[in-house]
Symmetry: C2
């Protein structure tokens, strides 16, 4: 594909107008929206209104007059289509890590007759750590970590809960949510899906796939802002029987009556804990409004085309430079990213950043590029491939300044 | 005291210049800064810089270039003087409720040979709920709730952890932190202090009082913004031996190496969990900068004078209208608030809000007024007392529109 052909795709892109809703730095090609999504006008406006008007002028009254108290629910409503779930089964609260802990501890208590938690080897660290910790807390449980391809066959009658990232953060490989969930249910296990790299990236159908539990992140494909609050989903049938182990006052049936005894709220409201972080939640709410007019199938279709555009560089000019595609080629087996392997991924990533292309490095040898169809153009991906090819051809990435290891996220 | 005498106090108030650092709505007397502190210019600037420059332009790079990754520590540094503790023993993370859960579960594991958690009857609900829940999770533990005055004598060798609010949210009564901590240590118990109504309100000396554990809230006297992130303190000697039950990736010794096995960070960094909520934390950091030039002893002295000003109304003209002071009169036995009792506290509170004086109602019969010396003047308190006296004299609070019960925070 030539740059002209990429530009021609952009001209007929049904999502092309959405790019103007974001404040993208001039001249930067941002392929890291799967790590931190960019600022939208809507998120900025919502946060500023929250700070100046609601907090500044409304003060304490804004819990009622600006509806702060309903924010976890309002954000849930805006997530419903993206998750393929009913709004009353979704809330925004806390962080992804904390939501995982709450739901997993609760699910293990419900499944107390079973011995094993099953997860994927190499899952995102926080998922591994919290799975280990929640399991240690319940003395009869142990964790099994198995490879991506072995998950389904490893589910048996001993498994209490399967904890999986739907899309893997490093490789971009995607599990078959319906099939894994079906297999788990056939064995009497529950499944808890981490949707950090799925929500806003791939079509989801939590209700249709009969998913039990899910959590996910507000600051990646959803563009809610750095460290944005996270979401959680609980299937209607599980809502009355799961108990939040961290029972804070915002999860009480009547928080403002200040009862001495905890009575969990009905439905998913019991998964709130403390006072919600309002500014971050308003920013997320603004960011989610961008999705109102977006068809997730348009997103998936454009993501596939962007993938093909970048994969053509990796399979072509960059293969000779030592690059190897890691992300599955089958669109339904992957998320919305391109991960490739190169033994010198770190300095190459740094040289690419200097050239205005922001991707990220994942230890030990992965270059990861997020494909975010709301604001990325086909020409952006073409230019990113071309600049990477130039860097490899020139050997510029070998410069000493690109070698030093630094913290990255 | 006359209004002129109140104005004369304001003229020589060493804190008077700080009022200009806040964006207070014109004509409103805000006596609810103990529920939600007001917006400061510094908090607004920090949040706007974070949104527009750091997120908008810096994007993912801001984790390093804007130092987002150090925010929990930077906020801790600004809290050190207010808490009377070393900055390396403090972090900002999550919500007060979640920090309580983390520290209490960890402390109970350390004290596993002991049977009882001791707390105060009528403690803030979330403290009661989480104390109950954390105790149920450890099968050998039970909770004892005793009255404020019976705490010290109830501490014995069976007590694992004492969980107390230093200043009571309803009454404003303050425990003797040094004495309770000493008594607990003599019995081999740990103490976990909730400083939600203490930090920024009264002088604290966590290190000098040999405090084990403390948590607190960023959005009350510290003015960090609605639902601002919370803080926690762990005594140096306990830092290596307490394990965070919610071990997320940000509490790992090397989070960006994405290890498969959790290795807790040294010191208090292990109490971080997920990705911090950056916008809320930057707002809090800005708000805390206001305290840099403030002497907490000036705050305590002015708080005592504001208390006397309002108590004079309650003891005088308002006593005949059925008001009764609830907050202790001895300054070292109370926080920075005035709580009084009236059988019709709810409609009176609503009528007072309509008259431009924002206090709050706490079930069943408490009117609560926060005293926040950074931005409240003596004339504000005088005017609040006068308006309340007018409302009672006119009987206006009996109007039907003030009777309907609504959600309040």
């Amino acid at each position: 594909m030539s740059r002209e052909e990429a530009a021609a795709l952009d001209a007929v892109d049904p999502l092309r107008a959405h790019r103007d809703q974001f404040e993208l730095p001039e001249g930067m090609i941002y392929l890291d929206g799967n790590s931190l999504g960019p600022l939208s006008h809507a998120a900025r406006d919502a946060a500023q209104t929250c700070i100046g008007d609601e907090w500044g002028r409304g003060l304490i009254r804004s819990w009622n007059t600006a509806g702060w108290v309903d924010l976890p629910q309002r954000c849930g409503r805006r997530l419903a289509d993206l998750l393929g779930a009913a709004e009353q089964d979704i809330r925004v609260a806390d962080s992804t890590s904390i939501n995982l802990y709450k739901l997993l501890v609760a699910a293990l208590a419900l499944q107390s007759g079973r011995r094993t938690v099953l997860t994927e080897a190499g899952n995102f660290p926080t998922d591994l750590y919290i799975t280990d910790a929640a399991t240690r807390a319940g003395a009869t449980h142990g964790v099994r970590r198995v490879a991506f391809d072995e998950i389904e066959q490893a589910i048996d009658e001993t498994v209490a809960v399967v904890v999986l990232s739907h899309v893997h953060y490093r490789t971009g490989a995607r599990h078959d949510m319906a099939a894994v969930t079906r297999r788990a249910h056939a064995c009497g296990a529950l499944v808890l899906w981490d949707l950090a790299h799925s929500a806003g990236a791939v079509p989801l159908n939590l209700a249709g796939d009969d998913v039990d539990l899910a959590i996910g992140c507000g600051y990646k494909f959803l563009n809610g802002g750095p460290g944005a609050p996270a979401f959680l989903y609980v299937a209607p049938g599980l809502q009355p029987v799961l108990e939040n182990p961290i029972c804070g006052w915002f999860g009480h049936a009547r928080p403002f009556e200040f009862d001495d005894v905890y009575e969990p709220a009905a439905g998913v409201d019991r998964w709130q804990v403390g006072t919600p972080g309002v500014i971050g939640m308003r920013s997320l709410e603004g960011a989610l409004s961008v999705w109102d007019s977006v068809s997730i199938s348009d997103v998936a279709e454009k993501s596939a085309a962007l993938f093909d555009g970048l994969a053509a560089w990796i399979d072509g000019p960059l293969a000779d430079a030592g690059f190897e595609l890691v992300t599955p080629r089958d669109p339904v087996r992957r998320g919305s990213q391109v991960s490739c392997r190169h033994p010198d991924a770190w300095p190459i990533c740094q040289a690419l950043i200097e050239a205005g292309v922001i991707g990220d490095f994942r230890t030990p040898d992965i270059l990861r590029f997020g494909l975010t169809p709301l604001y990325l153009r086909h020409v952006d991906v073409w230019d990113a491939g071309a600049r990477l090819a130039q860097i490899m051809a020139s050997g510029r990435w070998r410069d000493a300044r690109f070698q030093a290891q630094q913290r990255v996220t």
